[in-house]
């Protein structure tokens, strides 16, 4: 590189950071550092894959929902999650990567998705726990991301957050109803919370000190609050929600800390976290296989659309 172009690069970088420091958004056609672009593609596509893979554990209960109303609600929620995936893929594509490349990275294992979706949904109460805790945790994260520095991502988050609140409320409503039911129903609800509580806390990622991308992401304001801050926020808001319906959170160390003004809570099992992230959770293989086979079995639809398009083109050419 010549001295001149080095200087220009430094200047571009400085202008870019100044824009971010001034709380201005970065838009698709702006100059941006290559690493900012890569970092965003990784984060937004991981988020998109999570929305889409997340349809599987919930989709598992659509045909078995206990009432027609609960079934309609679940169907609507899963449809929303699909929409969220589409908003996010589109936002990622504004950074110059194609949908095909993104899907390919998911299928090859190069791209990750939220590890929570590698846990099975064993009972109807799991659908309640997922809505209340998993969507609850996702909302804490997404509310914060409404202020992310990349315009298309931030606007996607605003749209998504508007749709999310019914997701958490319907989940909580399922739990509340079960807790007002028979002993067996209460037990089922408690069992679901026992299994989903810790994986929900893991959704916020490693501790700040151990988080690979955190510091740079904070400087670039891709992330606005740290993993630990967001996790604490989630714990603080969830404790009261649990108390109201008389369900307990499976952590003996969970208690109010007057001095900090927050709840203290126990240490996450990071071995399990790493095991699931790296592919050995209870459902990793099943989730990916299902996505790949759905994609392959859908190939004829894409082929048919292309064939129809070609035929229309031919007809138009003949008429002209």
């Amino acid at each position: 590189m010549t001295n001149d172009s080095l200087q220009t690069e430094a200047q571009l970088n400085a202008d870019f950071q100044a824009r971010i420091d001034a709380e201005e958004k970065i838009e698709p056609r702006d100059w941006m550092p290559q690493k900012y672009r890569q970092n965003l593609i990784r984060q937004i596509s991981q988020h998109a894959h999570s929305e889409v893979i997340g349809m599987q554990p919930e989709g598992n209960w659509i045909t078995r929902a206990p009432t027609l109303h609960r079934k309609a609600v679940l169907l609507a929620k899963v449809q929303d999650e699909c929409g969220h995936g589409l908003y996010l893929y589109s936002a990622a594509e504004t950074l110059g990567i194609s949908r095909e490349e993104l899907i390919q990275a998911l299928h090859s294992g190069a791209a990750k998705y939220a590890s929570i979706f590698n846990y099975p949904s064993l009972t109807w109460a799991d659908i309640g726990a997922i809505g209340w805790l998993v969507d609850g945790a996702a909302i804490v994260n997404q509310v914060s991301l409404q202020r992310t520095s990349y315009g298309p991502y931030a606007r996607g988050m605003v749209r998504i957050c508007k749709e999310e609140s019914f997701h958490q409320r319907q989940g909580y409503h399922i739990m509340m109803t079960l807790m007002q039911g028979s002993a067996a129903q209460r037990e089922m609800a408690q069992d679901a919370v026992n299994r989903f509580w810790w994986p929900s806390l893991m959704m916020f990622g490693p501790h700040d000190a151990e988080s690979a991308h955190s510091a740079q992401s904070m400087t670039w304001k891709i992330k606005r609050q740290s993993n630990d801050e967001l996790r604490q926020k989630f714990v603080d808001q969830t404790v009261e929600q649990a108390e109201v319906i008389g369900i307990s959170l499976p952590d003996p160390d969970l208690k109010w800390n007057e001095e900090r003004g927050h709840y203290d809570f126990g240490e996450i099992d990071w071995k399990e976290f790493n095991r699931v992230i790296n592919g050995s959770g209870p459902c990793n293989r099943q989730r990916l296989e299902h996505h790949i086979s759905a994609h392959e079995e859908g190939a004829w639809v894409r082929d048919a659309i292309a064939a129809h398009e070609a035929k229309k083109q031919q007809r138009a050419n003949r008429a002209a």
């Binding site: 958004k25 931030a154 019914f166 409320r169 319907q170 909580y172 509340m176 009261e240 929600q241 109201v244």
Partner: protein, 94 residues
């Protein structure tokens, strides 16, 4: 002899971070000229930081008369809204 210049639709982003919004249309010979006209016509008071120009003929619009079949079925799904779920006061800010 009259020569009709093409019609373009103009979209303006008023501030970084916001969506482009449709503000109107204009006639121009090509996109480049349309861009200059749009600047003169729609941003004389710094209404925007970014302009999109789109060929009007490239816009595919739904018909108002299609609305019923397009949107009606969605009116009977109140459960898509947060307010549909009655929760205890203490946690109602969820």
């Amino acid at each position: 002899m009259s020569h009709h210049m093409k019609l373009y639709e103009v979209f303006i982003r008023s501030r970084r971070g916001l969506d482009h919004k449709h503000v109107g249309s204009l006639h121009a010979e090509d996109a480049e000229q349309a861009m200059e006209y749009a600047r003169d016509l729609y941003t004389r008071r710094s209404e925007g930081v970014s302009i999109w120009i789109v060929n009007s003929s490239d816009i595919h619009a739904s018909q108002e008369s299609d609305c019923e079949s397009f949107y009606d079925p969605l009116d009977d799904k109140p459960y898509r809204h947060a307010t549909h779920y009655q929760l205890p006061d203490k946690v109602n800010n969820m």
